[in-house]
C-alpha cells in the first residue's frame, strides 16, 4: 500500500476501527487470493465482468473485493449504478421482485462495457424463494446489470443461481499475508511492535484478516505495545507456546511435564474446546516427524469428537496426552 494513501486515510478518519480504516480501496491493496483478485482487477479495467459468486471464510476480503470492483468499474456513478444489499437489508421475494428488478430496469448511462452492479452480500442468508425469484431476473437484465454475490458457503446458494455465476472461491489468508498487512498497519500507526507480538496476532487470527486487525487494534490501544504477552492478554487463548511445549513433551514421551502444562491451562479456566482447538493448530506446525504428527492429529481429532459429545473434562484431555505419549513411544 502506498504510503501517501495511508496517510490520507489516517487524516480522514481518525476514529474508525482499523478494519474500516485500512479497508482496501484498490485491488493491489487486497491481500491474499491474488490470482482471483488479479483477474477481477482486470475486469475492473476492462469491464464486462460476468456475474460472480465469491465464497470463502470470513475475513478474507470478499466484500472488499466486490466493492473495489464496483468502485473502480463504475467510478463516479457508483452511487447510481450499484445496489448493495446485505443481510441486514430485507431481501425477501418481494424485494427481489420489486426493488432489484426496478434497479435492473433503471437506465443509468455508463461507459461501454460497464454495467450496473447488484451486490448481494451474505447471499447465503437469502431465502430460497428469494433466490428462485432472482434467477430469471439475472438473465434477462444481464445486458445492463451484473450481479456480485458474496457468501460464506456456496452450498446455500441454489443451483440455478450458481449456474448463472462464475464461482470464485476465496481461501483463508496465509500467515505471511496477514503478517505483511499487520506490519504495514503497524508502520502506519507508528506502533511499537516486536516479532513475537505480530506472530501471536497472526496465530490468533488464523487467516482472518478482520480478526487480526481487530486484535491488533485492541492490543495497541490497550497496551500500546505489540508484544506477545500483550496480545495474549487481549485475545485470551491457551498460549500456543505452552501447548507447543506440551506437545514436544509428549513427543519425547514425558507425560509429567506435559500434564503439568495441561493442568495449568485447565486451572486458568480455559474451555476444553479452546484448548483442543489450539492444540490442533499448534500441532499442525509442530516440528516433529510427519507421520507422528499425523498420528497426533488423529488422536486430537478423536479427543475433539469426545469433547463435542460432551465429555469435556480434564480427564479426556489427560487421556489425550497419554495417548499422544503412547503414539510417540510406539513410533
Amino acid at each position: 500500500m502506498p504510503e501517501e494513501t495511508g496517510i490520507v486515510v489516517v487524516d480522514k478518519r481518525n476514529n474508525l476501527p482499523w478494519i474500516e480504516k485500512y479497508r482496501p480501496v484498490k485491488f493491489d491493496e487486497i491481500v491474499g487470493n491474488e490470482d482471483t483478485v488479479a483477474r477481477l482487477s482486470v475486469f475492473s479495467t476492462q469491464g464486462n465482468s460476468p456475474n460472480i459468486i465469491i465464497a470463502g471464510p470470513p475475513g478474507v476480503g470478499k466484500t472488499t473485493t466486490i466493492q473495489c470492483l464496483a468502485r473502480i468499474l463504475l467510478g463516479d456513478s457508483y452511487k447510481d449504478a450499484v445496489l448493495e444489499l446485505n443481510a441486514s437489508n430485507e431481501r425477501g421475494i418481494d424485494v427481489v421482485r420489486n426493488k432489484i428488478k426496478m434497479f435492473a430496469q433503471q437506465k443509468v448511462t455508463l461507459p461501454r462495457g460497464r454495467h450496473k452492479i447488484v451486490i448481494l452480500d451474505e447471499a447465503d442468508s437469502m431465502t430460497e424463494g428469494a433466490q428462485q425469484s432472482l434467477r430469471r431476473t439475472m438473465e434477462i437484465y444481464s445486458n445492463t446489470t451484473r450481479f456480485a454475490l458474496a457468501c460464506n458457503t456456496s452450498e446455500k446458494i441454489i443451483e440455478p443461481i450458481q449456474s448463472r455465476c462464475a464461482m470464485l472461491r476465496f481461501s483463508k489468508l496465509s500467515d505471511a499475508q496477514v503478517l505483511a498487512k499487520l506490519i504495514e498497519v503497524c508502520q502506519l500507526e507508528q506502533l511499537k511492535y516486536d516479532e513475537d507480538g505480530l506472530e501471536a496476532i497472526v496465530f490468533t487470527a488464523q487467516g482472518d484478516m478482520r480478526q487480526a486487525l481487530n486484535n491488533l487494534q485492541s492490543t495497541a490501544q490497550g497496551f500500546g505495545e505489540i508484544t506477545g504477552a500483550n496480545v495474549f492478554k487481549v485475545c485470551d487463548e491457551p498460549h500456543p507456546m505452552l501447548l507447543q511445549d506440551m506437545l514436544q513433551h509428549c513427543a519425547s514421551n514425558d507425560i509429567h511435564k506435559a500434564y503439568k502444562i495441561l493442568a495449568k491451562l485447565w486451572r486458568l479456566g480455559y474451555a476444553p474446546e479452546d484448548i483442543i482447538g489450539n492444540i490442533f493448530r499448534v500441532c499442525k506446525r509442530l516440528n516433529v516427524d510427519e507421520q507422528l504428527k499425523l498420528n497426533f492429529i488423529r488422536e486430537i481429532g478423536i479427543t475433539h469428537m469426545k469433547i463435542v459429545d460432551g465429555c469435556n473434562s480434564l480427564l479426556q484431555l489427560t487421556s489425550l496426552l497419554a495417548r499422544l505419549c503412547m503414539t510417540a513411544e510406539s513410533h
Binding site: V42, R112, Y141, S142, A176, K260, Q291
Partner: protein
Amino acid sequence: MCACASSKKTRPNPSEQTTTRTTTTTPTTTTTTAEEATNYTTPTKNVLEQPPTSPFILRAPPSAKSKLILQNMEEVLNTVKQKHREKHKRKREEKRRAALLAEQATAIEATNAAAVPAVTATTTTTTPNGRHVLREKTARENGLSQAKRKSNGSPVKSSTPQSSIMKAEPAGKTPAKATNVFELMMNARNRSMGTNANGQELAEAVEPIVTPHSKRKQMLQEWNDRKGGAKRRLADEARGDYIEQKMEQRAKRLKKMLTQPNEPRERKQSNSSSQELPRVRKQTSSSQETKETISSQEAQSDSKQTQAQAASAPTKRMRGRPRTRRLSADVETALPVSADPDTLQFLSKLSSPTKKRDSLLGYFTKVESPQNSAEREKGKPEIKLIEEAIETPKRRPRASKTSSNLSVNVEETSATTTPSGRPRRSCAAKARYDYDLEVSPTKAVKPSPAVEENDCIEIIDLDNSNPAVTPKKLAPLFVRQVPKPSPDPTALRARQEFLHSGVPEKLKQEQQRQRSYEQYYEDSYELFPSIAHVGSERLEVKQASKRLPLRAEEQQEEDAATIARKPRPGSITSCTASDFVASRKRTPCSWTPLPQLDNKRAMVKNWKSIFDRFPTFKCYNQMREKYRHFSAIDAAQDTQPMGESFVMTRRTRRSIQQQDVGKEEDFHPPALAPNGELLFTEKYKPLLFEQVLVNLTPVQELRDFLANWSGASASNRNSQTLDDSSNDHDSSSMSGSCNTMVLLGPCSSGKTNAVFALANDMNFNVLEINAGMRRTGKKLIQELQEATQSHQIRKEAKAGAAPTQQLLQKLQQNGLKARRNQGDDDVRKSLILIEDADIVFDNIDAGFTDAIYTLAASSKRPVIIVASDPNCAHLQRLMQQNTIKFQAPNALNISRFLAVLALMENCPIELDELISLYLFNNQNLRKTLMELQFFIQSGGDAKREQVAVAAPSGSPSKSPRLATLPGVQIHQRLFEFYTSAQNVQHLIPFPVDFRLLRLNLGELLRHSTQLQSPSTPVARRVGKRKSCSPKKAWLNKSEAQEPLQTLASFYEQLSTATLLDATLEERNDRLQPHLSEQLAHELVERAVGTCLAAKNYAYNLFDKPEQRFNLSDQLGSFQLRSSCARSLDYEPAMRSICRSEKQRASLERRSSRFYHYLRNHTNHNLSSFSLELYDAACQVLQEQAPLVE
C-alpha cells in the same frame, strides 16, 4: 392554617412530625391514608379557596391574641369561604348538578362499602370553586376505589382512620378511648364493612380527621402561592384591628356551636350532602345575615379549622397543650378574615392564580412550575415572620419558632405541591420529604369535598368541647414522635437556610470538582487509554502471587522457550516478520489483452479431424459470425452494418467464407471495451433453430410442437389475412391437450433458450412469466387474457412481453427480416412461456397453479411450461400430457463446442480442461460458460511462464491433446483455477466430500508413490501392493513400514476423519468454521500427503459417477439406526419396495404414492428427490448389488 403550623411550632417540625407520625405508626398505610385523605377532604376546595386567605397568614403571628383567636378563626375562615363561594357560585351550581348525579350513582355504591358514602358526600358538596363536573366524578371514582381499597385493606390500614376516630370522638369517650383503641378500630371497621348507616357516619367522622393533615399542607402551599408582595402586608396591617374584633365575636359563636355539636351533624347526615350544598351556598352568598347562617358558616369555618386542627391535632394532643395550638390555628385562620372584606380587589388580583386553577388550563400552568413558585414564595414568608417576631418581642420565641416551622412547612408544601402528573423534584432535603412527595400529588389533584368539611366540623366541635382530654386518647403509636425538644432558633435558622439553599454548596463544589476532573480526564486520555490499566496490573500481581509455585516454573519455561525460539520464529505460524519484505514486493498485475490468433482457421481444421461427429465447421462459422458481429457492434456501436450477416444459413455463409478466407483480421475487439458487453451465454446462444448444435432431439420435438401452431401460417405465410377459422380448426383438431407443453430438464440444459430460439425462428412472440414477477393467479390470468383469447398480439403487447434487451431483440428482428424478407413482424403470434413453473411461493403466488391449469385449458395459443423438477406435484397432470425432456448436453460435444468458442475468443483451451470443468460444474453449461468467460476475459493463463506443471497427466482415458500450431499457446490452467488450485494449494478441496473421496480412492491410491516403489511396475490393486515393498525415505524405521501398514494407517486416518466429519453433520450452519471439519480435512490431506506420498496430480475427485447410487445417502443418514440394520434390513426392504413400486407405477396411473410416502422420510433436498432416482436405485440394487456397500 398557618396557625396550625405555628401551633405545632411549639414542636420542632410540626408538619413533618405529623406526617412522620402517620408514617411511623403505619408505615404501610401512610400513603394510602394520605391519598384517601386527599380524596375525601382536601381537594380543590381547599386548594382553590385557600389562596385568598394565604396573604393574611403572614400577618397572623403579630395580630393574633392567642386566646381570642380560637373562636375568631373559624369565622374568618367562613368569610373567606363565603367570598369564594360568591365568586364561584355559578360553577358551584354546575357542580351541584353533577354532584346530584354523582350522588345518585354513589348512593347505589354506598351499600357496598362504608367508605364510599363519605366519598360521595364529598363529591356532592365539593369544590365550591367548581372544577368541572368531570373532575369531581373522577375524584369520586378515585375516592371510590380508595374506599374500596380501604374496606378491603388489612386492619392495619383501617387503623389509621380509627386513630383519627379516636381523635374525633374525644368528647364523648375521653376516658375509655385509651383502652379501647383497638375496639374502636375494629368497630369502625365492622361498621364500615357492615351496616351502611353506621358505617357512613363513622366514615364521615373518621375521614375528615385523616385528611386535615394533608389539607393543612395544601393550605400552606396555597398560602405560599398567594402570598404577594409588600402591598398585601400593608393592607393586612390596616385591617388588624378589625380582625381582632371579629375574632372575638366568632370565638363566642363558636363556643355556642360547640355546646350543640349534634345539630350540624344530624343536619348533614339527614340531608344528603347534595342537599346541604345549596344551603351552604346560600349562606355563603348572604355572607353574614342570619345567625343560623352564621352558625352554618361557623360550621364551615369549623370545618376549616378542623382541617387545620386535624393537621396539627395529633401532635398537639400528644403534647397535651391543645389550647395553644388552637390559638395559633385560630390566629392563622383569623388573619385571612381580616383581609377578606377590605381586599376584595386585592383578592381579585390574587385570584388570578385561583382562576387559573379553576380552569383546566390554569391547573396545568400551575402544574408546570410548582417548584419555581414554591421557591419564589419560600423566601418571603419567613422574612416576614421573622420581622414580625421581632416586632412583638413577647411572642418572639414562638414567633421565631413558628417562622422557622412555617418555613419548614412552606418548604414541605412547596415540595408537596408537585402534582401527580409532574415528575417530582426536590433537590434539597429529598430524603426528608419523601413521604410528602408521595402524598402530595394526589392531594393537589383531588377536589376537596365539602361534606367532609362538615364532618370535620363535628369532630372539631368535639375537640373543642373538651380539648384537654384529647391528648390522652392518642394511640401509643403516635406518641413516639413527640419527644423532640424544640430546637433553638439558631439551629432552626440554620436548618431553614439549609432547606432554602437548594443544592448544598458542598455538593455543588463536589460536582464541579468531579466535572472538572472528568473533563480533565477526557482531555488527557484517549478513548482507549494507551496506558495499561492499573487494575489489571494489580490483578496480575495477585494472580501471580496466588499460583506462585507453578507460575515461577512455567514462567521460566516459557521465557526459556521464547528465548530459545526467537532465533527461529514462525514456529506457531507459518511465517516470520522477515518474510515481510519479500512478500511486499508483489508484482503489479499487468494485463495484456490476449493476442489475436491469426490462424484460428487452421487450428479448427486440425480439430475437425479429431472431433468426429461434431459439426466443427458449422460451429466455428457460427461463432465466428457472432464474434465478428458483436465485436463490430462493440467497435462501431452500430448494429446495422453487420447485423444480418450472421444469421445467414450455413450454405450462404460457406460461400462467403470462401471468399474472405484471408481476412479474418477484420474483426478485432474494440479498444474501448475489449471484453465486449455481453455475457458469453448471451453472445453465443442460438438464435435460430439451425444454430442449435447440441441437444438437438428435444429441440426438434419442441419445434414440431410449435410447428403445429404456426403450421397454418407457415403454409400461407405471405397472406396477412390469417383466417382465424383455419387456425381454430387447427387448434381444435389438435385437441386441448396439445396447447401446452412441459419442458423438463435440469438447470441450464437449454430449455428457455430453445424456446426463444424457436420462437425467433418461427416468428412467435414470447410472453414470458417467470418467478421474478409477481404471479398470482389473478394477475397471470389478467395479463394473459388477451394472449389466450386471441391469436395475434400486436406490437403493443410486446411491451408486456419479457423485456429482453433491445439489442438482441433488434438482432432477432433483423435476423427474421434476413430470413424471411417479410414485414410480418406485427403479425407475430404469441406464445406463452411460463418459467420456473415448479416454483410456487404459497403465500405470495396464490392461485398460480390454478392459473396455469386454466391457461392450459382455455388458451388458444401454445403454452410452454418450463420446469426443472420432474416430481413437481402440482404439474403432474400437465406433465403426463405433454412433456419434452431435456438432458444436460453431452460432455464430449460440449467440450468441443467450448473449445471452438474459446478459440474464437483467442484463448485456446485444452479439451480436458473443458470437460473436467464441465463435469465439475455438474454438467452445467451456463456456469461453465460463465467461468470460461471469467477465465478468458481476465487473461487466460495469467502467468504464462508457468506452463502447465501440473498437467492432468494421470487420467489415461482423456481425449488426445489438441493439436496446436507452433506459436500458439494453449491455456491450461482453467480447471485448476476453478477447482483445487484457486488461491490455495490443497490436495483435497477443503470441505472433504467423503463420498467422493471414497469413489476416487482407487485413483488416489494409484498415484501414491508410497505404495509403489519407483522400480517396480505400477500396482493397481491393493492386493498387489502388498507384495511390493517400497522403502520410505522419510522414515527411520523404513524396513518396518510395509505398504500394507501404510495403507492401514492411511485408512485409519481416513476413518477418523470420516467420524469427525460425521459429527459435524447435524450442524448445517457453516457460517463459522468448524474445527472438526478442519481436523478432518487436515487429516485426510496429511494422510494423502504423508502416508501415500501422492504425487501432486489433478485427481478427478469431481466427476461423480452417476451410475453409482447409495440409497442411504438419498434417504438421510439419521434414519439408519445402525449400519447393521441398514445392511440387514433397511436396504433389502427398500429394494423390494422399489421393485414393487416400479411395477405398480407401470400399471397404475397413480404412481406418486410411493413418492409421497418416501418423501416424508427423506429429510434433505426435497426438490431433487425423484422417482427416477429410485428407479435407478432399484436397478442398481438389483443388478449391481456388490457395488453398493
